[in-house]
Structure formats: C-alpha cells, structure tokens
Symmetry: C2
C-alpha cells in the first residue's frame, strides 16, 4: 500500500479532529471528546511534543498515534512512530515516550516488538492526575508571593 | 516553619542539581544521574512543563517534586505542587499530571489525599519508553520525505 508520512498543516485539522474522536472510541472513552467533523482524505496521525527529564534531558512524547482501522497492517503506524523518533533524535532527544491502556494488547505488543520498555511493569510508574475541582482546590492552596 | 515558594533562577542551578540527585536516590535509581554539586540554601523544587491533550487541551506536567527529608511535613511539598497548579490554571490548563512509583506509598497517599486520580489504577494507563538502541533503530525506520 502506498502512503506518505508528512507534517500536519492547518488544512488537515478537519481530518485530524475526526481521528481524534475515532481514537477516543477505540480507547473506549468517546464521551471524553466534545468535538466532531465529517469527510476525510487523511488516514492516520501522530501528535507529539517535547518533555524534559532532569536525569536524561529532552524527550519526545507521542500523545496520540492513530491509523484508521481499514488501513492498519500496512506499516503506517510504524511510519508515524518512527518519524516522531527521527524528529526527536534530530532535536537531541534521548527518549521517546507514550502511554497505552492495559487492555490494548495489539498496541502493547506492537511497542514491545519494537523494543520498548513498559515502565509501569518494569519500574512501577503510575500516572497521577488532578483535574476539575481537585485542581481548583489545589491551585487555591498556593502560597501568595 | 517559614519557607518561600518562588520561581527558580539561574543561580539556583547548583542547589537544584543536588536535589535532582537526592530525588534519584529516593527513587532508588541514583545510577541514572551522572551529575553532582555541593552546598545548599534551597531545600526543595518542582520542575514542570506544559503538555497537550487532544481531548482536553493544555495540561501542566510536574516532572519532579522534591523536598529534602529533614524539611518534610511542613507543607513545602503542598506549596510547590499547589503553585504549579496555580500557574497551570493561569495558563488555561485543565489538568495537572505527574508520575509516581508504585512502592512510594507516602507520595501516592499525599496525592490521593488531595483528590488526585491514579490513572494507572482507574483506567489502566501504562507508560512506554523507547531509548538507546531501540530508539535509534525506530528512528532509522522512518520513511524518507
């Protein structure tokens, strides 16, 4: 199958927002997304940004990696992920990280097959979140300058 | 106990790098840090940056939160964390996230007591990492433009 991995442009937003919703459906949390769009020509996307480890330096974090179901198994996911790795390395990143759901065996196997380490399993890292009223309450505890 | 929560300045680097090492020792991974420094006047730090959720928008991520052992139990950790929350909210963040080790019960209890959700427990999120040769290999698979 022929496909092209490229940087997203402003005019891709409609397709990307559709796939953001599709990814949320796949992750069984569609009620978490409040946006919608129709029509498509783009069949997958990766969204990444840079983070920083005080131990190792800059890292690239892949927030979303998605390929439409009917186009899976063609190396598009690998293309997107490896492109993020390549861009990260050009920016001196020593790590690429991402999060995956426990029940999502196809994705966990995909990452493991490419040599990734599951830090939750090997080192016991948990992800903690404050949001909504808990975040408001926490922010209100901040000492005044 | 009197303490002041403030933004870090360039001249704090020595103290902060000492505490980066202390935090790694506490997390039982001191061999992960290759830097060292001596002398201190600063007794804790929080390092944060911004991340982005395609479902919810901007978030603040607290990479490190550390208070020297002899100064714990004085509300300094809460001061640092709540300041990051306050700064995050000013920047329109709807979440504050961080990672904690499974065995680190004092910290897990501290976050839970402030209303945080453990996403690894409640939703099953795992943290995945590529680094070293696995990252190199992945980057080399990237399709050419």
């Amino acid at each position: 199958m022929n496909f092209k991995i490229r940087r997203a442009a402003k005019e891709d937003c409609k397709d990307i927002s559709r796939m953001i919703m599709e990814l949320a459906v796949y992750e069984k949390m569609p009620d978490q997304v409040k946006i919608s769009h129709e029509g498509f020509t783009i069949i997958g996307y990766a969204l990444y940004f840079y983070t920083y480890s005080t131990w190792k330096g800059r890292a690239v974090y892949v927030e979303d990696l998605y390929v439409m179901p009917e186009f899976r198994g063609n190396g598009i996911g690998t293309g997107l992920l490896s492109k993020a790795a390549e861009i990260g390395k050009k920016k001196q990143c020593v790590r690429l990280q991402l999060s995956v759901l426990n029940w999502n065996t196809p994705s966990r196997d995909f990452y493991a097959g490419k040599g990734a380490q599951d830090l939750t399993v090997t080192e016991g890292w948990h992800t903690i979140r404050f949001d909504g009223q808990n975040l408001d309450k926490l922010a209100n505890e901040a000492p005044k300058d």
